[in-house]
């Protein structure tokens, strides 16, 4: 691409990103409390997908156990907040550390076990996690779940357990739901930034080299063992931050939320958004969020004339959409966008085939 083309490209990226940032920041001002709470819950999903993407997209290790690591983050936060009453952000940070350690532990076998076999080790983790929660139900609350509470004076003046909230400081002038959105968005933005810098660093290049050809990477001096385990740890830490935010927003954790199905949804978010891209997981999370919060409730209970129960068909619709998307765009949304841009660029370079570039945008020499 020519320098002018690149400049134009950079400029349009800046414009698009600028618009996006404004939209994302404006959302809680435009949406009511109900919808603000809905989109706030997309943030933990995006973070879990971000972590999984680092592992799967950039490092080539497939995990179907991130639901469990997400759960470790959620339960860590719940216990820390209940037992020690730490500030919420501190609990999130601590959960990230705990999940990093858990991720390294899960990742250790990866030194020897590779590819799909490794995926099945993570499947084991996903399957065992609810059993472990039940085994220690005295601490975790088992299937009934664990409420995250504080002792507060209720309206009758009795000290009682009350579910925690995210409270907006008065100086902000924001409602609680708006404040929660901005705080957790900031946490997520920080995580995305960290990942972006990580994959562009030497370590990140090593990750990608291992994904593309492990033997070649090793030969060229990459410490495969350390990079793989480290990636597992960071990936788990990100999922843990997601789980922690999820726990705080729900003020409650229960084993039903951290099943294999959750793990599969993370994988879906990664691939639908576009693996091995920074924006992919966020886009994938938004896509899943839109499906769950907008499309699903809008489906009619029954479709005449066949009296078809459209609600019961929800997974069928989702499944069909996934298959169609993979047929049309196996690279996910980001992959398709990249392809589209490449095609446009090619066209711009060959004026004979495409529209004639106008002088103001520079055109092609």
């Amino acid at each position: 691409m020519s320098a002018a083309g690149r400049l134009r490209d950079t400029r349009s990226i800046i414009v698009v990103s600028g618009v996006l940032v404004v939209v994302v920041l404006a959302l809680p001002q435009v949406l009511d409390a109900f919808w603000t709470r809905r989109i706030t819950l997309w943030i933990p999903l995006a973070l879990a997908a971000l972590g999984l993407n680092l592992l799967t997209g950039y490092n080539g290790q497939i995990s179907v156990g991130h639901g469990a690591l997400y759960g470790v983050g959620a339960y860590s936060t719940a216990l820390i907040l209940n037992e020690w009453k730490w500030p919420q952000l501190a609990a999130i940070a601590a959960s990230a550390v705990i999940c990093f350690v858990a991720g390294v532990a899960v990742g250790l076998p990866a030194l020897r076990i590779k590819g799909l076999y490794l995926a099945l080790v993570t499947l084991a983790v996903a399957t065992l996690f609810p059993q472990v929660l039940e085994q220690f139900s005295g601490t975790t609350g088992g299937s009934a779940g664990l409420a995250i509470t504080n002792q507060e004076m209720n309206r009758r003046g009795v000290l009682a357990d009350r579910a925690i909230r995210v409270e907006a400081p008065t100086w902000t002038g924001l409602a609680d739901d708006q404040w929660a959105y901005y705080v957790f968005l900031a946490v997520a933005a920080l995580c995305f930034l960290v990942v972006r810098n990580l994959v562009r660093s030497r370590v990140g290049r090593s990750m990608i080299a291992i994904r593309d050809n492990e033997v070649a990477a090793e030969v060229s001096g990459v410490n495969v063992a350390i990079v793989k385990v480290l990636t597992f740890g960071v990936s788990a830490a990100l999922a843990g931050v997601g789980g922690a935010i999820f726990a705080i927003l729900q003020a409650r954790v229960s084993s039903g939320s951290f099943t294999l199905v959750a793990s599969l949804y993370f994988l879906v978010a990664v691939v639908v958004g576009g693996s091995a891209s920074i924006a992919g997981p966020a886009i994938g999370a938004v896509a899943i969020g839109l499906f769950q919060d907008v499309v699903t409730p809008a489906l009619p209970e029954s479709v005449t004339p066949w009296d078809l129960n459209a609600k019961a068909a929800t997974p069928l619709i989702l499944g069909t959409m996934l298959i169609l998307l993979m047929l049309a765009a196996p690279g996910g949304i980001v992959g398709s966008a990249r392809q589209l841009r490449a095609r446009l660029a090619v066209r711009a370079q060959r004026p004979a085939d495409g529209p004639i570039p106008t002088p103001t945008t520079g055109g092609t020499p």
Binding site: K114, L123, Q131, V268, V271
Partner: protein, 294 residues
């Protein structure tokens, strides 16, 4: 002693089902090179075929044959219409995994839409009676399941070792492009592979369904145990699937009875064994080591 024997038989009976699920997974892995998350749901769907034929008046064994045929057709069609167009799983592993997840969701919902959500009573292939084996009462159903499993293993061995189709499948698995060049009908071979997988799934479903009753949830847990079985045995080994399935079955039904720590974590012993085996032999007990080229 007789108690232990009883647990072992229960484990073998359940393990036979996991092994059958595993056989289906192995067929697909060998022919297409992917882990089929939809294997359980496709099997469940074909099992509903068996049930429907039986309800329509066919004797259960005939209904089973019919269900296997339906399963074969479903497998072949799914491969042709959905899996093949996505592309080579070696090139796009994630896209193909997502497609199998899509199939998983879709077939589960489709079964609910067609047959409803209530569990259906499912006739046993071998009746409800028990037989005395070495002083322990064992359901005929369990012995029958083991017999079916043995027959299946034999059939698979014959197909893969002794027939042209099997030869073709092995060629396709190791190198689809050159197989096509030497005139092997790759597409047809792959369709047969998927058809066989769902067919054997129908048998697994029909053997399993009398225990929990037939519903769209039928194969979700057996699928996980089936994955455990082939991880242990090796993704590409039929012997591995059979041995792995039986082993996982026995382990989950025997060990927690004697080791308190596993009382509530019944899956843990199986997973621990898998982990140890994989650390020693990353390709599973019977699996072939894949040589990676630089």
């Amino acid at each position: 002693m007789s108690e232990l024997l009883q647990y072992v038989f229960i484990g073998l009976g359940n393990g036979a089902v996991y092994a059958m699920v595993g056989l289906g997974l192995v067929v697909i892995y060998r022919s297409t090179g992917l882990l089929n998350f939809a294997q359980g749901e496709l099997a469940m769907f074909a099992t509903f075929g068996v049930w429907t034929l039986h309800e329509a008046g066919l004797p259960i064994w005939l209904a089973l044959l019919g269900g296997m045929a339906i399963g074969f057709a479903i497998g072949a069609i799914v491969h042709q219409v959905v899996v093949r167009p996505v592309g080579d799983p070696h090139q796009k592993p994630l896209a193909v995994v997502i497609v199998t997840i899509g199939l998983f969701l879709g077939f589960n919902a489709l079964a609910q839409l067609i047959w409803g959500t209530n569990e259906k009573e499912f006739a046993t292939l071998f009746g409800n009676s028990e037989v005395d084996v070495l002083g322990t009462l064992v359901d005929w159903q369990k012995l029958g399941a083991l017999g079916i499993l043995a027959a299946e293993a034999l059939v698979f061995w014959v197909i893969f070792q002794k027939t042209k189709v099997g030869l073709g499948m092995r060629a396709v698995a190791s190198n689809p492009e050159s197989s096509a060049l030497v005139g092997i009908p790759v597409t047809r071979i792959l369709m047969i592979g998927w058809g066989l997988a769902v067919s054997v799934g129908a048998v697994a479903g029909a053997v399993w369904a009398p225990t929990p009753g037939l519903s769209s949830n039928l194969m979700q847990l057996p699928l996980i145990y089936g994955f455990a079985a082939i991880t242990l045995g090796g993704f590409d080994s039929f012997v591995g699937a059979v041995v792995g399935g039986l082993f996982v079955g026995v382990l989950t039904d025997v060990v927690p009875r004697y080791v308190d720590a596993f009382e509530k974590m019944t899956l843990a012993p199986a997973f621990l064994v898998i982990l140890v085996v994989l650390l020693v032999r990353p390709q599973g007990i019977f699996g072939r080591k894949v040589v990676s080229r630089v």
